[in-house]
């Protein structure tokens, strides 16, 4: 049976991958995917903590469900924003969104 640390290591690696993707990629949709990855890693750690708890509780699973609902709302609004921006700029590359800089 895998231990709590095993799940936490997977969660940390997933979070690092998401953070790297968010900082390094130039495509707006890929950045949203990376955010989803980070939210999922936090979910995994919450459920893992809940599963290996000493006393019976279920707050971790409920928090995970709440995070999922918020992630769904975030993905909806984020993708709508990205589609609106891409429609007006004709590009998904975030480096080209520099109107406010000029």
């Amino acid at each position: 049976m895998p231990s709590l640390e095993g799940y936490l290591v997977v969660s940390v690696l997933l979070f690092g991958l998401g953070a790297f993707g968010f900082m390094a990629r130039r495509n707006a949709i890929l950045m949203l995917i990376s955010i989803e990855l980070m939210l999922n890693s936090v979910n995994l750690s919450l459920v893992a903590f809940n599963a290996y708890r000493p006393a019976p509780q279920n707050a971790g699973a409920i928090f995970a469900l709440m995070v999922m609902a918020v992630a769904a709302a975030e993905a909806t609004v984020g993708l709508a924003l990205v589609i609106a921006i891409i429609r007006s700029r004709q590009t998904a590359e975030v480096d080209d969104y520099s109107d406010l800089k000029e």
Binding site: A19, G21, A24, R25, L30, N58, A69, A71, V82
Partner: protein, 148 residues
């Protein structure tokens, strides 16, 4: 998956990752979270992202370089975060139970509608606001002119 050049390939890798996470939730004795993961992430968010990609990508010809110029800085930062948090994971005495204690679906449902009723309602309101906002944002601009 964050290094693939084609965005569609990244999205499919993301779906595989979400499916594996659903399996992990089932292993952790939380079948309701696994089911929600499959429904929300594999079912809804993946399809949403695939639709967004298909609406916005012109084709896979002459794809631009996938990475930002600051990719090395990003890699160093991500590895530093993983290192620090991973170190904390192994340094901490979690006092964890030896075996996985499952979460019953009935217990979750009871808690969700009694102890966590207020957050539940707030989440419902947030989702409604997100739906309205998304419809408003993603509307085609010419619809405005037609209505005006």
């Amino acid at each position: 998956m964050v290094t693939l050049r084609n965005v569609i390939h990244s999205a499919i890798a993301m779906m595989i990752c979400f499916g594996s996470l659903a399996g992990m939730y089932a292993l952790l004795g939380a079948p309701i979270v696994a089911a929600a993961q499959v429904l929300i992430y594999l079912g809804a968010i993946s399809v949403l992202i695939l639709f967004a990609i298909m609406l916005t990508q012109a084709g896979d010809a002459n794809l631009p370089a996938p990475f930002h110029p600051q990719v090395w800085f990003a890699a160093v930062t991500a590895i530093a975060v993983v290192g620090v948090v991973g170190w904390a994971v192994f340094q901490t005495d979690w006092r964890a139970g030896a075996v996985v204690v499952g979460v019953g679906v009935q217990a979750i449902a009871k808690a969700l509608f009694t102890d966590y009723a207020l957050p539940f309602e707030v989440i419902a309101l947030l989702l409604l606001a997100a739906i309205i906002g998304a419809i408003y944002l993603a509307r085609r601009p010419e619809d405005d002119e037609r209505a005006a």
